[in-house]
């Protein structure tokens, strides 16, 4: 192979893939796509969009026209973030966030494992458009196969030898719910613990090595790489006007084939479940948006569409694309109390209202589920929730409260039964909702992980 990288900058535009899948196009059952395979499917990335001395890189306007929203949970417009970083003055750094601390999410590690070059393209293109010379790819230390594929893909590109490209390096980050929070990630990359910091300064103002830093989710950057190739109109062929494009969703629970699916934004939940081979059991409710998300009652699921615009009526958001179905056989009270305890354990312990409030909420929920709560537990939960919301340095307590309040609402009758009658038969079996194992938790956030 002469130089994949130089071919990389010159080949004609590839044919435009229509429909789905986009990100997951050509993914083999096992292993990742090589650079060669990646280029065969998606074609070369366009000429690197150099930052111009005074004017903005044209890529940013294309991302804006595409309407790309961040896929890391916040749905923030990516073009606006690129602009903030670009206008911050110093030479920026790009951080690819594949930390994926959410226990019910697998999409970023899947993308990283199966499509590393697409993510790396996105990181490089974003870096070039910002004049950044460094791209840091952060992968959770527990996702070994993903980290290995990312390392191999980085090595493959450096062998292909495009010296004009920004430097790319891999950083493993601790298996901890908070590791992927952007200020925690920046803190870790600056040699400190992976814990959130007080903002401002936000990463775009002062991030890695104090440089303005773009922190973008791995999937977001993979979309960016495809928009750079095929353009904003192509991107908008799927999705809704306010939420264009496709998105990766991790579906788990009682379906024949749980896993990561690429959907069109706005697609009905029923089509996702069909794609996964259908439900294998009765469903009591769905958790949308993961452990910072909201429960939706089974009765609402047949007509549910997967877009934030639609989900707003259920006070839910797609977040990082987690859809978790709870089977009819599980005990919702015990399951959600267990997750609430885990969420409390994931507080970094830095902010009083978060530490105390999440602990108290988890305890009250647990006591209610075991039928030993004091009177007026529901009022106490509401009051504690209001004491926690918006009072942390990061959004973890807000997400946890969202999860807890929606559980109390959707599973109101189950909680009431438990408060009255104590535990049920299914309580002892609680464990349908995934929680990382204790070993992974013990070192969470506190140690620097090493690439083995």
């Amino acid at each position: 192979m002469s130089s994949a990288a130089s071919a990389y900058a010159q080949a004609p535009p590839p044919s435009q893939p229509a429909g789905l899948p986009r990100l997951l196009a050509g993914v083999p059952a096992h292993g990742a796509l090589s650079l060669q395979e990646h280029l065969e499917i998606h074609g070369e990335a366009p000429r690197k969009p150099r930052r111009r001395r005074r004017s903005e890189s044209p890529l940013i306007a294309r991302i804006e026209a595409a309407g790309l929203l961040g896929r890391g949970g916040g749905a923030f417009p990516t073009a606006r973030k690129l602009r903030s970083v670009a206008s911050a003055g110093r030479r920026p750094v790009v951080v690819v966030n594949a930390a994926e601390g959410e226990p019910a999410s697998l999409k970023d590690r899947t993308l990283m494992r199966a499509r590393p070059h697409l993510v790396l393209d996105g990181g490089e293109l974003a870096a070039s458009s910002l004049g950044a010379e460094e791209v840091i790819v952060c992968v959770c230390a527990g996702a070994r196969a993903s980290a290995e594929q990312a390392a191999a893909a980085i090595a493959e590109r450096s062998r292909a030898g495009d010296s004009s490209s920004p430097r790319i390096r891999l950083q493993l980050v601790p298996n901890h719910y908070l590791s992927g929070q952007e200020s925690a990630l920046v803190s870790y990359l600056n040699g400190r613990r992976a814990l959130p910091t007080f903002t401002p300064p936000l990463p775009f103002e002062q991030g890695v090595g104090r440089a303005p830093t773009l922190v973008s989710n791995a999937e977001t950057l993979a979309h960016l790489a495809l928009i750079a190739r095929h353009g904003p109109e192509w991107f908008r062929e799927l999705g809704t006007p306010s939420e264009p494009g496709s998105a990766l969703v991790t579906l788990s629970g009682p379906v024949a084939h749980p896993g990561v699916y690429e959907i069109e934004l706005g697609a009905p939940l029923s089509s996702l479940i069909d794609a996964a081979g259908g439900a294998t059991d009765g469903v009591r409710a769905a958790l949308v948006g993961g452990y910072a998300g909201s429960w939706i009652d089974a009765g609402r699921l047949p007509s549910l569409a997967l877009s934030d615009e639609y989900l707003a009526q259920h006070r839910a958001r797609l977040g990082a694309g987690v859809v978790l179905l709870l089977s009819e056989h599980a005990c919702p009270a015990a399951e959600t109390a267990r997750v609430a305890r885990w969420l409390a354990s994931q507080s970094s312990g830095q902010c009083g209202p978060c530490v105390n409030g999440l602990q108290a909420l988890a305890m009250t929920l647990t006591e209610t589920a075991r039928g030993v709560a004091r009177a007026k537990a529901e009022e106490r939960i509401a009051r504690l929730a209001s004491l926690v919301q918006g009072r942390g340095a990061c959004a973890h307590p807000d997400g946890a409260v969202e999860f807890i309040l929606s559980a109390v609402q959707i599973f109101g009758s189950e909680f009431a039964d438990h408060a009255r009658l104590g535990t049920c038969e299914a309580c002892a079996l609680a464990g349908e909702l995934p929680i990382p194992d204790a070993a992974a938790r013990a070192h969470g956030g506190l140690r620097r992980a090493r690439l083995a």
């Binding site: 910091t197 007080f198 830095q350 902010c351 009083g352 209202p353 978060c354 105390n356 004491l387 009072r391 942390g392 340095a393």
Partner: protein, 70 residues
Amino acid sequence: MSYRLRVNPIACEAHGMCAELLPERITPDEWGYPLISAEPLPESLLEHARRAAQACPTLALLLERERARS
């Protein structure tokens, strides 16, 4: 120019000085951490607010200029 109070929750150790010095706008929650009223700070309270911020042993109370919306 309008100002607002904000707490750095990482620095705050619930000493409670601020609630004593500015009870009009700050009350302690059940663990002693300050709850800040959303009401605007009138000119007449500005000096008290400044003093409360200076009295915090961990400098966790911030008196900030209202940032113009971008």
